[in-house]
Amino acid sequence: MAPNPKLVDAFRAAETVQDGDTLYFGGTVLDRKPMELTRALIRAGRRDLDVVTFAGSLEIELLVAAGSVRSVAAAYVGLGRFGPAPRYVAGVKAGGFDDLEYSEWSLLGRLRAASMGIPFLPTRAGTGSETLAIHDFASVADPYSGDTYVALPPLQPDIALLHAWRASPSGHVQMASPPQHLWDIDVLAARAADRVIVGVDQIVSEEAIASIPERTRLFGFEVDMVVVLPGGSWPTSSPPEHDVDEGAIGAYVSSGGEPGTLDSARPS
């Protein structure tokens, strides 16, 4: 067999991103954020990005500080128990990018419609909300009852960027067990996206994957690029490898949002 073309470095992965792409950032709040892939995008000078994430944190901070974003679509952006995301909040207040707030169900419902391959997902979620009204979704009548529902259209990001535990050269990706909270949203976003780039703490053999097949969450044919990035989610968590680095996030907050405090990969 030819050398597997899925294994690339972060530079090569960032090169495949175009200015203006719609990028989904995996992880939720302070867990599993693809920080090192985000740094690579910034180093590559990517701009006008339409950023989508279910619950964003420090990756959004870096991107906003670098001036890389055209819009941020999310159901939450903040630093969890560390409070608001200072760069993000300042950026929204200054009108520096389009603040596409989503409700949880409508963002995830759009990704579900894409991953299910259906034209729209009918839902009652969000009815009456101004946050829903931002998006101007069509409504649809239930052909059985005549009642009106929101019709969530598929959301298919150009690329999903994830950080995960480990993968094999052929691109099978495994996550920790027991599962970390909200892990399945990473899988959902990957299946919704056109292309998938996964940074992993460990690259392992195909045999290692097959030895615990029940932990495989994405298959090689669903993954376009694998980047070996030990500690690549730092300072956010990466189960089972490491927890949130609370000191580093505290230092970031204390600095008032100085991206330099997050510049490098995880200190070893």
């Binding site: 709040v29 619950a55 999310a74 159901a75 939450y76 952006v77 903040g78 969890g80 128990r81 608001p84 995301a85 993000y88 909040v89 929204v92 207040k93 200054a94 009108g95 603040d99 707030e101 409700s103 949880e104 169900w105 409508s106 995830l108 579900r112 839902t123 009652r124 979620a125 969000g126 009815t127 009456g128 909300s129 101004e130 946050t131 829903l132 931002i134 009852s145 009642d147 009106t148 920790a176 027991p178 599962p179 970390q180 909270h181 909200l182 892990w183 399945d184 949203i185 959902l188 968590s237 189960p239 089972p240 927890d243």
Partner: protein
């Protein structure tokens, strides 16, 4: 009369817990220890006729701190884990029956704002976003809000932004009552027929304080009873589920600044 952060947190938690009924399946969101403690206290006081889904795990024994652990540390403490998409389905099919929400603002219709103050393109404040706040009032049989800093800007006549629509909104095709009540650091208010009605006033407050600190007209009976103090059973449950008092974190310090310390 004065009240400490701890007294306020305790009474808010038990007031919320008393609204939980046997058979409820309570979903708890991220970063809301009062909501989590209330659900767990209710689980205790109903002798486990209530289920609590928080952090992707069900009914984690050991209380608030255990629910906040990483899942790998929950083995032996939980009957099982729930993928998030399953919990979405549970909500939409009403297998989840109740959620407590902590918005920045609640208005006279029970509309909830967790989004922003001011216009979207250049707001004067941007909160972290509501996650499911926009969704669950239209899905679950009921939603109950809480706010630990009862003042006119927190309970205005009209929220600056309707993240989640309130009680009695039109168009719901199932039994989704919307936001049926709000528990504050001053009182328990229920939304009935599109109006806020004071059900009880906390011992350290009174009718005029509640009225003055609310931005809309309340149905406020002169003889509104005091919110009953935590019972011995409730106090025991509070100690069991939250011995390290994570619930206090949500109450401002000093509580209610200077407006409430004397009644």
């Amino acid at each position: 009369m004065t009240a400490s952060r701890g007294e306020i947190a305790d009474l808010m938690v038990v007031a919320l817990a008393r609204m939980v009924v046997a058979g409820d399946v309570v979903g708890v969101g991220l970063g809301t220890p009062i909501a989590l403690a209330a659900a767990l206290v209710a689980r205790h006081t109903t002798r486990h006729g209530v289920h609590v889904l928080a952090g992707g795990a069900l009914d984690v024994s050991g209380g608030v701190e255990s629910h906040l652990r990483h899942s790998r540390d929950q083995r032996g403490l939980t009957p099982g884990f729930v993928p998030h998409l399953d919990s979405m389905d549970m909500a939409e099919r009403q297998a989840m029956t109740l959620q407590f929400l902590r918005p920045a603002q609640v208005d006279r219709f029970g509309n909830l704002n967790t989004s922003r103050i001011g216009v979207r393109s250049a707001p004067t404040a941007r909160f972290s976003g509501g996650l499911a706040t926009a969704d669950v009032p239209a899905l679950l049989p009921r939603v109950i809000a809480y706010h630990p800093d009862h003042r006119p800007r927190s309970l205005p006549a009209q929220v600056d932004w309707i993240t989640g629509s309130g009680h009695g909104w039109a168009g719901n095709t199932r039994k989704a009552a919307g936001t049926v009540a709000v528990v504050t650091d001053l009182a328990v208010i229920e939304f009935v027929e599109r109006r806020g009605r004071v059900e009880s006033i906390h011992p350290w407050s009174d009718a005029s304080t509640v009225g003055e600190n609310t931005g809309f007209e309340l149905s406020l009976p002169e003889d509104a009873p005091p919110t009953p103090e935590p019972t011995p059973d409730e106090l025991e449950a509070l100690d069991l589920v939250d011995p390290r008092r994570r619930r206090d974190e949500e109450v401002p310090d000093p509580p209610g600044r200077d407006r409430r310390v004397t009644s």
